[in-house]
Symmetry: C2
Subunit: 340 residues, 2 copies
């Protein structure tokens, strides 16, 4: 069973295209490191040999606008490094087949300096011909698991996640372990596919959020409120788990070493400044999470309960602001890799 549900599509009030500030802050934080990594590690003359075509992909790109900013940035940095007017860029925007590619295509920047194309499919499998990608980028995406490990749903397993919707806040270590094992399986497939697709000397940059998602507990407690009021069956909460795991530098190092085809050029946890935290803007923060998670909630609970849970979480506004000021720090993991 796949657990993938796309970000909210279109451009309406709770759409991802209008509500992706958290993801943008991560990208802004990664911008400089990506630039440095490209300048330091990319040897374009070697990887292109006689060709003048540079192929970039954004894996798990969603519908914009963040993906356009990143792709234009990669193109810009490579152009500035090489001053080669003959270089031509082709960008492959990838996401699941259920992603709203129509919205993505219709919002492509008119003044882009690359040829654009969309590639539907899971990045846990093959997407491109072998040795055809020179630079792969993946931001805010590898933390989505391909599925929820079945132990979490098994009442007789020590990993049964009763009354919670995520490993954050779970007291039982078996629960987080089940998430880790699934993450490692997914990343094994991810790296196997990329090892085939990326040319020798080609690069891959991964950016992943690292913290802050204990805020998922606020949604969890709204759901439990509905259970206590008799509006929702508790077993529905017990059987719901958000398929997101936030990898640590060690998790990544382990999967990269197991794969064996990439060298880690840089791996770093950073704490970008967050406007949301400065202003403890809980409402924006929650709506942002909603744009990301609504499909997942609606699929499991139906739209009425999902809507009610989001509305109630917004009412916890002050409590969440206080929590943000005390505990929340935007934290991201940046990884630059090179195909050996």
């Amino acid at each position: 069973m796949s657990t993938f549900f796309p970000m909210n599509n279109g451009d309406a009030v709770y759409s991802y295209s209008r509500n992706s500030q958290i993801q943008r802050e991560l990208l802004d934080g990664a911008k400089e490191m990506m630039e440095e990594s490209i300048i330091k590690n990319l040897d374009i003359k070697n990887i292109l040999s006689s060709s003048n075509k540079f192929h970039i992909t954004d894996l798990g790109c969603s519908i914009g606008p963040n993906t356009f900013t990143s792709m234009q940035h990669v193109v810009q940095v490579v152009k500035e490094k090489y001053h080669d007017n003959n270089l031509e860029f082709q960008v492959f925007f990838n996401d699941h087949v259920t992603n709203d590619f129509n919205t993505l295509f219709r919002s492509l920047p008119v003044d882009r300096s690359y040829y654009a194309s969309g590639v539907p499919g899971s990045f846990h499998g093959r997407l491109f011909p072998s040795r055809s990608i020179h630079f792969a980028h993946c931001s805010c995406a590898i933390h989505w698991l391909s599925k929820i490990p079945k132990e979490l749903l098994d009442k007789n397993s020590p990993a049964w996640n009763k009354g919670l919707i995520h490993y954050a806040g779970a007291s039982n270590v078996e629960i987080v372990n089940a998430y880790v094992v699934q993450f490692e399986k997914d990343m094994e497939m991810f790296f196997n596919a990329r090892a085939e697709e990326i040319v020798q000397g080609g690069m891959m940059v991964l950016v992943s959020p690292f913290s802050g998602w204990d805020s998922l507990n606020f949604f969890g407690s709204s759901l439990m409120d509905l259970v206590n009021e008799g509006m929702l069956d508790e077993s529905l909460v017990d059987s719901f788990n958000v398929p997101i795991y936030f990898p640590s530098p060690d998790d990544i190092t382990k999967v990269v070493e197991k794969n064996g085809c990439f060298s880690i050029e840089k791996i770093e946890l950073t704490y970008p400044q967050s406007k949301l935290v400065d202003e403890a803007d809980a409402k924006t923060f929650i709506i942002n999470l909603r744009a990301t998670l609504e499909g997942l909630f609606t699929n499991h609970f139906g739209s009425k309960i999902a809507e009610e849970a989001f509305t109630r979480t917004i009412l916890k506004n002050e409590e969440i602001s206080a929590w943000m000021q005390m505990n929340y720090k935007t934290c991201q993991l940046f990884i630059a890799l090179k195909r050996k």
Copy 2:
């Protein structure tokens, strides 16, 4: 002003995906010729040199299923010709940015033997990096003009197309000339772009319908019925022209020679057997045209009048059956070109 309106999207009763039999009959008719042309003209070892990646594009692909049939056929023929298990195929599905790529991607055959991607944009301009395409296919698409020549809308011009919606049936030669001039301008841009994008020795196959579209007059006369009943202002009919021109072999030869970068390997008018004609299945025929033209009609007349015009045309069912048996013959123009 662009005149492009996509085929009816989704998969509902009047959608293009369910109503594209005419287009499929053309493709079936072209199948054998395409196979012969590939076998005779494609020198894959030369055009790929040391690479094993073969890039195909379907220009103006719409939303399927016809495009999947053609692309699989091209892949199959190339595979059978070369028996090279290392060959990898990447197919670029192209259509206007308003095309329903979500439906296209969601209906991609699961057992396809190529990597799929979508490329949004007009084929009258550049879509791909230079020398990056090995085989371009374009079926039932070049006859769509990029815009309606303005003379057709000018009351003082000899090309004013009063009371009609197409050059078919127009008595004034200036009207058809205006269509021809626009077609030549469009094809100049089309061939200039493809000359940059297709590798030396690469191929392009064009298939275009050549007749049968005088049936557009049935829609025109339904519109004039509405005018006569006072439901529609005549000036709205006078200012409406279907932006479709059916090129002759001479038209194509002229634009190819002007461009100078392609050799014509085969150019042929054929008359494939049509199930629609055998059964004089006027209803299917009209619904098929509707799936293709509804967006265009709705944009100009509004959905109420467009709907009314289509309903009335279906009522002309018997008249159209009789006309089909007397006059209609599926006729297509097949062109195989090679990049010099």
